[in-house]
């Protein structure tokens, strides 16, 4: 059976259109290649 209160908490607000610019700026575009390149740099 559903725990209604817990389930309600799992819902997140939707991204508003007005917040698109912030969202784009804050987007983390780091991919696995970037991480590995960073690791290789650190080892060197």
């Amino acid at each position: 059976m559903i725990n209604f209160d817990e389930e309600i908490k799992r819902f997140k607000p939707s991204l508003d259109v007005e917040q698109v610019e912030d969202a784009i700026v804050k987007s983390d575009l780091t991919d696995m290649t970037d991480i590995m390149m960073e690791l290789i740099k650190q080892e060197r």
Binding site: I2, V17, T33
Partner: protein, 434 residues
């Protein structure tokens, strides 16, 4: 850089998996795969564009725009998302509506999380009415309905979510609970049991179609009546027009045949009438010819009779009778070459003496007071010799004596005019008083 290549391969694999899931409308599953693809290769443009499309399809327009803008920044040329963004921005109202819907959902979520469920439901209903593909709003609405134990409305919202996103785990879970509470789960379980059960049919088993029903007596009668009505209707619409047309054609042919016969009969009647007219004409001609032959006065036979009587008068030496008879004849009718010479002799004799005898007979009659007889004799004399002013004068005098002054005056005038130098003209003038 083997690991770069390996990362790209993994990213492509996740993209392919996400694409397959998107094609079968497992949108949430596809979104997870595409996100993983982008974790391995942020330049996987197709994956990012498809992720944006999935967000847009699920009512998350802002998330879709974020993905497409990033995609366009990473690959400015030959990028399909350029078209997507253009489509969204082309209609200003569309973006505004999407923004309003998001606001309604966020407001409803706040109401729900603070326990104001009624207002939350109102906001969510308005949001899904505007965009029924807003999956997150539909799910929250279904949850609120379930909390109110309104499982029917919850089921409808969840059904819509599963139409958009078949693999939505949360919707599937909620739907299972709804089915349990509405008894739908038990029905489906029984259906599945029947569908996969394999009971062996025996000889006594009868398969009755699910639509079969035993009919009552009234239903049987009603069915028969309906059948009869339909039969009559079919007969009237399918058979009768053809039959009527056939009969009309036959009647038309018959009428044509009668018309031809009638027209031929009319032609025959016209021919017979023409023949009858010709026959009547011929008969009238024959009758006229016969009349001309037997006529007492002018007929041919009469002329011969008169000729015979003239000859008899000659034989009796009665010239006055001969002259009277001759004056009644029409010598031109006698054309027999054997008779014509005799007639010519008589005519010559009458021209020389006959008219005088008749004039004398007229004088004798006038002398005895028989003016009518005198006029008759004078006429006969004039018939034998018309150019005779003396006889004309005598006739005028006789007419005058009879009291026929007008006719007498005409004759006196004729004498004065035609024979002015004669003594009779002088006497006529005296009588007329000139």
């Amino acid at each position: 850089m083997d690991y770069v290549k390996r990362n790209h391969q993994i990213a492509n694999s996740y993209y392919n998996l996400g694409l397959e899931k998107a094609q079968i409308r497992d949108l949430s599953g596809a979104a997870e795969c595409l996100k993983k693809s982008l974790h391995f290769n942020k330049y996987q443009t197709d994956a990012r564009n498809l992720l944006g499309l999935i967000y847009y399809e699920m009512g998350e327009a802002a998330d879709a725009i974020v993905q497409w803008v990033i995609s366009l920044n990473l690959q400015p040329k030959d990028n399909r998302c350029d078209y997507y963004l253009d489509e969204i921005q082309r209609k200003q109202g569309r973006l505004e509506i999407a923004s309003q819907n998001v606001k309604k959902y966020n407001q409803a979520l706040w109401y729900a999380q603070t326990g104001i469920y009624d207002l939350a439901i109102l906001q969510l209903v308005a949001a899904v009415e505007e965009n029924d593909h807003y999956v997150k709003a539909q799910l929250l609405l279904a949850l609120l309905y379930m909390a109110q134990e309104n499982y029917t409305k919850a089921g409808k919202a969840l059904h819509k979510v599963l139409q958009i996103d078949r693999g939505n785990q949360k919707a599937l879970w909620y739907m299972s609970i709804v089915k349990e509470n509405t008894g739908r789960a038990e029905v489906e379980r029984q259906k599945m049991d029947h569908a996969f059960s394999h009971t062996k049919l025996e000889d006594d088993n009868i398969i009755i179609p699910p639509t079969y029903k035993e009919s009552s007596g009234a239903q049987v009668v009603l069915n028969i009546v309906i059948g009869v009505v339909l039969g009559i209707a079919a007969f009237m619409t399918l058979v009768m027009p053809a039959r009527t047309k056939e009969l009309n054609n036959a009647h038309n042919q018959e009428i044509l045949s009668y018309s031809e016969q009638l027209s031929q009969s009319n032609i025959k009647i016209d021919e017979l009438e023409s023949q009858l007219a010709e026959a009547n004409g011929a008969r009238e001609n024959a009758e006229a010819s016969l009349a001309s032959v037997v006529d007492d006065n002018g007929g041919l036979v009469s002329q011969y009779v008169l000729l015979v009587r003239v000859l008899q008068a000659y034989r009796d030496d009665d010239f006055s009778t001969a002259a009277q008879l001759y004056s009644d004849m029409n010598p031109a009718l006698i054309t027999d070459p054997n008779v014509v010479p005799i007639l010519q002799t008589i005519s010559q004799d009458m021209a020389e003496e006959g008219y005088q005898v008749l004039d004398q007979m007229g004088d004798a009659a006038a002398g005895s007071g028989d003016y009518a007889g005198a006029v008759a004799y004078y006429d006969k004399s004039l018939k034998l010799k018309g150019d005779n002013p003396g006889v004309l004068y005598d006739k005028a005098v006789a007419l005058n004596a009879q009291g026929q002054q007008d006719t007498a005056n005409e004759l006196f005038g004729e004498i004065i005019k035609n024979y002015p130098d004669s003594e009779y003209a002088v006497m006529a003038k005296e009588i007329r008083g000139y």
